[in-house]
Amino acid sequence: MDPTRVATERATSRLPAFSLGVRWVLLVGCVAGCAHVPPEAVKLSYQIGQDLPRLHESYDSLVHQRFEDFRARRKAYLDEVWTPDFLPRWIEKGRLVDVANGTVVWSFDTASFVRPTPGQERSQLLSTISEWSAQAVGKVEKKRKELLDPLDQDEKELRRQVQEAFTRVVQANAYITAHLQSLRDVEEAQDEALKALGIKDLRDSINGALAKASDEAADGLDKVRKADGLIDKAKEAMNNIH
């Protein structure tokens, strides 16, 4: 007798007295639901969902640290190279020494350096120094923005892209977790239904049988492959003899 038919009849004979059609529906439904989803699969997926934001935090910190390093180097250039080069030039062009000596002041009326007005030397000196300083600070701040603003924008954009990528992956993983949980729920519902039918162990038996059959098939394939190899070697040896 066909072994498949024997196995099928053995399995269906354990079902309560339903019609043959119902037995088949139940059996097929059971076999279809045989894939086992352990609770650990749900927990693992959930744990990944918990850990991904921590990975994101770590990645985000690394990105920020990287930009902080870049900013530090550019600030050092500004403070130690650019400003020390600019100030002497500005002191010369802004005639700061002459202003300090009281020789000239800035005339806001004629937009040029002029001799101080007698009696107004002190106030003209203060307003000239104030304007000179404002120009110096303005140029240094302008350079600071030129050097640092692009870095700030790049950091903002990169961190936004990283955040978006992690959010996308975390959300996708949440759907996978929910799906695994739904498979668990279905499995539990099936267990309950099978228990009610008095065939609680049937699925495990079928599952075990299928796993065993699959293992045996794999073993058989190995043997066939090895035999194939032997045949090839034998052919090769015979060819060599001839």
């Binding site: 190279v81 080069d85 996708a172 799906h179």
Partner: protein, 96 residues
């Protein structure tokens, strides 16, 4: 007559230009060394559309599973009428 700062602006601009000119190579080297490699750092994952398509398929299958898992509870919630309907469904399947 209003305050004229234009002249002093021009003088400061000249000092600034001279500094930038003198430090051009140094600054260019610094900028090259302190810029990010976008290709290396940008996360190159699948686009949102791909994710949305896959998620929609998974979501649909999840909803179906949840519906199956809740079948018993729904039938019980429907009361005797629901149980009678479920019985008819089983009978129909039995005739297949």
């Amino acid at each position: 007559m209003g305050r004229q700062t234009r002249g002093m602006d021009d003088l400061a601009d000249k000092a600034e230009q001279e500094t930038n000119e003198a430090l051009r190579d140094t600054e260019l080297k610094l900028l090259l060394e302190t810029r990010i490699d976008w290709n290396a750092l940008r996360p190159q994952i699948a686009d949102q559309e791909t994710y949305d398509t896959l998620i929609a398929a998974v979501q649909s299958a999840t909803a179906q599973n949840e519906s199956i898992a809740q079948l018993k509870a729904r039938i019980v919630a429907l009361g005797s009428a629901g149980i009678a309907v479920a019985g008819k469904v089983v009978q129909l399947i039995g005739r297949v």
